[in-house]
């Protein structure tokens, strides 16, 4: 350790190290990127299928996706269709835009003779973004299924939003009350009667993540109301 290093040596040493590390890391990232993107795409298909209660492995999801999803659409804020590939719309960018410019993807699925409408959602949890898909039956009121996911919610607490046990609590809930007012689904503490149509039980120790789900559902479904109304009046 007693050896003396000149400033020159230190500069050269750190330059080589930095360039070397940068090369290795960027090479690795470029090499692996196609595989990673494929995984992300497959997972998206898997999550969409899960929201209509079709549980498949990630690898099979690509084959089965178009067996169930019969139509995809991009809607504007008035419920009119616009051109484009709904699957490629990145909700992360869209929710930051003002409503009139927003593109809203919609997936229409056929499962055992029923038509289900799948709405993608995105919001924020405690530490980062949360997202998910909720499917509505053709009455545009009853929730047929839901699937949530997250990047960084607390493991074991907030992360439970992505577990099936929590997701299944949303099945059969209604987003409109009997007078036809929009209510969406509240996520509440202290336990609820499972038959209550507008409420589900929150997760103990994960208040912020549970509230995030509630807001995400409320805001996320509401923007599709013009489309629902058009379909109902057809």
């Amino acid at each position: 350790m007693a050896k003396k290093y000149s400033n020159r040596y230190i500069f050269i040493y750190s330059s080589i190290m930095v360039v070397g590390v940068a090369l290795v890391l960027s090479l690795l990232a470029t090499l692996l990127q196609p595989i990673q993107e494929r995984n992300i795409r497959l997972e998206k298909m898997q999550n969409i299928l899960a929201s209509i209660n079709i549980e498949v492995g990630r690898e099979e999801s690509a084959d089965l996706f178009y067996d169930y999803i019969v139509q995809t659409k991009i809607l504007d804020h008035e419920g009119e269709e616009i051109d484009g590939d709904a699957f490629e719309v990145d909700l992360q960018d869209e929710i930051r835009k003002d409503l009139p410019e927003r593109q809203m993807p919609l997936y229409i699925a056929e499962v055992e003779g029923d038509t289900l409408y799948i709405l993608p959602l995105r919001g924020s949890g405690l530490w980062g973004p949360i997202w998910g898909y909720v499917s509505l039956k053709s009455d545009f009121n009853t929730i047929a299924g839901a699937n949530f996911d997250h990047d960084s919610e607390t493991p074991g607490l907030g992360s439970q939003i992505a577990e099936e046990e929590f997701e299944s609590r949303f099945k059969g809930k209604k987003i409109y009350d009997q007078q036809g007012n929009y209510r969406a689904v509240e996520v509440v503490k202290n336990g609820v009667d499972p038959d209550e149509p507008h409420r589900v039980d929150a997760i103990t120790g994960a208040t912020m993540s549970s509230d995030g789900i509630e807001d995400m559902i409320y805001e996320g479904i509401r923007v599709y109301e013009p489309y629902f109304n058009k379909q109902k009046n057809l």
């Binding site: 350790m1 290093y5 040596y9 230190i10 040493y13 750190s14 190290m17 930095v18 590390v21 290795v24 890391l25 690795l28 990232a29 692996l32 595989i35 990673q36 995984n39 997972e43 990630r58 530490w127 990047d151 960084s152 607390t154 493991p155 074991g156 607490l157 103990t204 120790g205």
Partner: protein, 219 residues
């Protein structure tokens, strides 16, 4: 290094080398004795599975980073050694993360939040600074594995206790039988909150020092 080891090739698992692995699991445990790495113990031990995954990831990162630092120990200028260590740890963590994302996507989704935590784990830098910088690659490797195992063992123990009593499950599987709930048993909500991890580690420290009085800090 004594004369002895210079002349004669030391066996790979000599008494001294074995100690490098066993000591940090027992009476030189980085968590219960040195009280390092507490932050991640409190954060990730709500369930057994994430504890296990993090333990394995730390073993991998620590073993490799100790070897790398040990290999370059004679050419690294001491004035920038900390930043070199940091670069090595951070790069390794990124490599682990990228490879997992491509090859084991499910595991990578589980690890998501822990990857950052590995970089900030003070035990890793502590061992680089305290051991790998002055020792040959093989003992450094053993020291890294040993300390990471000591850390992992505590992590897994705390995760086990907290998931069992907090949620009645292990690895997500229900283990507390249904009839106990029927006769009035309830999961203890305190166990899933971070303070319980501190209490659990505290109890471990207490038990360990009671059984081995020479560990008691007299100062």
């Amino acid at each position: 290094m004594s004369e002895n080891t210079k002349n004669k090739a030391e066996p790979l698992f000599s008494y001294k080398n074995k100690k490098l692995i066993t000591n940090p699991i027992g009476k030189e445990n980085p968590i219960t004795i040195q009280v390092l790495g507490i932050c991640s113990v409190l954060a990730v031990t709500v369930q057994l599975r994430p504890s296990l995954v993090l333990a394995i990831a730390v073993v991998a990162v620590m073993g490799i980073s100790n070897v790398v630092i040990s290999l370059i120990r004679n050419i690294t200028p001491p004035r920038i050694r900390i930043i070199v260590q940091l670069t090595v740890i951070a790069s390794l963590v990124i490599i682990v993360d990228e490879v997992l994302k491509a090859a084991m996507y499910d595991v990578s989704r589980q690890l998501a939040i822990f990857v950052g935590l590995i970089i900030t784990n003070c035990i890793i830098m502590g061992r680089l600074e305290g051991f790998a910088l002055y020792n040959k690659p093989w003992p450094s490797f053993l020291d890294g594995i040993g300390n990471a195992s000591g850390y992992g063992a505590v992590l897994i123990a705390v995760g086990f206790i907290r998931e069992l009593f907090g949620s009645g499950t292990l690895m997500g599987q229900q283990v507390i039988p249904e009839f106990l709930y029927n006769i009035g048993y309830v999961d203890n909500g305190l166990f899933i909150l971070p303070p319980m991890a501190m209490i659990a580690v505290g109890v471990m420290i207490w038990v360990q020092r009671t059984r081995d009085p020479e560990l008691i800090d007299v100062s």
